[in-house]
């Protein structure tokens, strides 16, 4: 990943939302991006740690959303 010292102006914002009713607790998202997703200790249901993760995590968050088995992760790339 290209880590230029000065963040580029047009860096996109990403808003993340999770649907806890749909989540089946498979934990794929937590394995991929533990900075953004966690699971409840008691039930394994997803917990969103960071609803607007930084640009360095966008690709991983997008991967998590696309492989989530219940499509419980929603992304709004425009914030």
């Amino acid at each position: 990943m290209d880590r230029a010292p000065t963040a580029r102006k047009e860096e996109t914002i990403m808003k993340v939302a999770v649907d806890r009713d749909r989540c089946c607790g498979a934990g794929q998202c937590v394995l991929l991006v533990p900075q953004v997703f966690d699971q409840g200790e008691d039930d394994g249901v997803v917990v969103l740690l960071d609803p607007s993760p930084g640009g360095a995590l966008h690709a991983a968050v997008a991967e998590a959303a696309s492989v989530c088995p219940t499509a419980a992760i929603h992304l709004d790339p425009h914030g």
């Binding site: 089946c24 607790g25 498979a26 934990g27 699971q39 200790e41 219940t70």
Partner: protein
């Protein structure tokens, strides 16, 4: 095609690591295909990615085929892995299922599974070392594939190491419809239940860190959420759902990666590919088994057609995983493929509860083999590998390897 009547299912492949030729034709020409099962009953086979995903994600339909007019999958009526996967108690839909899942799910969170990882690696290392000591060539299915998942489930349930081999024997026997007679199967079931009841009592007296101790604590809190039968059913259910599936996948993974040795060499050169490679192996599996049945309790629109209520639909995740509409160069194995939203674990509310653990086991096995046996190769030509036939979960009988 419709004039020729329903096709016999499951299909057979010409080569052990190649998909049946029907998959591509049906995806193209007949995405909702009438099939006839071993029981003689009829069902509809879905082979396209979008269709399979849609049906499996639909919470209204379950794999519990106990409706009167549901197709029987095998001649033996119990339905094997489909009936018992969630202890036979929550295989249906709705709230009871979700409640069971969230209770047991606490043992399968990513964090809990990551915490198990060093132990899984140590178990894999130990099995590989034993295999090496017995000498080359060896059968990787018997030496590594079948024992590892049982050891892991024993760990999860707090079963002492000394009892693992007995556990493995019961599990092998309860699963195998072919090698053992009904009497042996019944005896194994009986002994397993007896052992497990005693084990529950021992854990109750002296709780540990394991899932079973936690479940017992919930039973004893007597809030009506779980009964002892559910604890027993859950233990057996985890064995049924997590043993044969993972065991076979370990053998198929090794076979797929060694059949074209440039794949193995690429992984040796870059072990960071292990994670995506495991996903690609799961996607590429040409012999995943029967597929997932669903009984339609209502009419359903799939791919522009109406499937009538009362139908039994079989979702071929294997065929869906080779759909060009969902995966670029679907017929090529790409060890770095990302993202890889394959359907090997199903999707939706019933998707595999143990998938984080299964992934961990497969990754650990692959890492240990690459580390300890980089010279590993198939000891027979890939075409000489033989499939295990007639079972719900696909696999290879043996994977002879040398190093």
């Amino acid at each position: 095609m419709s004039e020729s009547g329903p096709q016999e299912y499951p299909f057979r492949s010409q080569a052990p690591l190649e998909p049946p030729e029907q998959w591509e034709r049906l995806r193209q020409e007949c995405p909702v295909a009438p099939i006839r099962l071993a029981s003689g009953d009829q069902a509809l086979l879905l082979t396209r990615y979008e269709d399979v995903r849609q049906v499996l994600s639909d919470p209204r339909f379950t794999r519990r085929l106990d409706a009167e007019d549901a197709a029987r999958v095998t001649a033996n009526a119990s339905g094997g892995v489909f009936g018992v996967a969630s202890g036979g108690l929550a295989g249906g839909g709705g709230e009871a299922h979700q409640q069971w899942r969230r209770l047991v799910g606490r043992a399968f969170t990513a964090k809990r599974v990551l915490a198990m990882r060093p132990r899984v690696e140590a178990m894999a290392g130990r099995l590989v070392a034993d295999m090496v000591e017995r000498g080359s060539p060896a059968d990787l299915v018997a030496g590594l594939g079948f024992p590892l998942p049982v050891w892991v489930i024993c760990d999860l349930l707090g079963v002492p190491d000394a009892d693992r081999d007995r556990f493995a024997y019961w599990s092998d026997t309860m699963l195998s419809m072919t090698r053992y007679g009904q009497e042996q199967i019944d005896a194994a079931q009986e002994e397993f239940a007896g052992y497990f009841r005693a084990h529950i009592a021992a854990r109750r007296a002296d709780p540990g860190e394991d899932l079973l101790s936690e479940l017992i604590a919930i039973v004893d809190a007597a809030d009506g959420r779980l009964t002892e039968t559910v604890v027993l059913g859950t233990g057996q259910g985890l064995l049924v759902a997590g043993h044969e599936t993972t065991a076979n996948m370990i053998g198929k993974m090794a076979a797929m990666l060694l059949a074209d040795r440039s794949r193995w060499e690429r992984l040796c050169a870059d072990p960071s590919l292990v994670r995506p490679a495991v996903e690609e192996v799961l996607r590429f599996d040409a012999n995943p088994g029967f597929g997932m049945p669903r009984y339609l309790t209502e009419d359903l629109q799939v791919g522009g057609r109406t499937l009538p209520r009362g139908s039994t639909v079989v979702c071929s995740m294997g065929a869906a995983n080779r759909d060009e509409g969902a995966f670029e160069h679907a017929d090529a194995m790409d060890l770095g493929r990302t993202p890889n939203a394959h359907l090997a674990f199903g999707v939706g509310p019933h998707s595999c509860l143990g998938q984080a653990l299964a992934r961990t086991e497969l990754q650990a096995v692959l890492e240990v083999l690459l580390r300890d046996l980089p010279t590993l190769e198939l000891a027979v030509p890939p075409g000489a590998l033989a499939r295990r036939e007639g079972l719900l979960v696909g696999g290879l009988r043996q994977v002879p390897v040398s190093w």
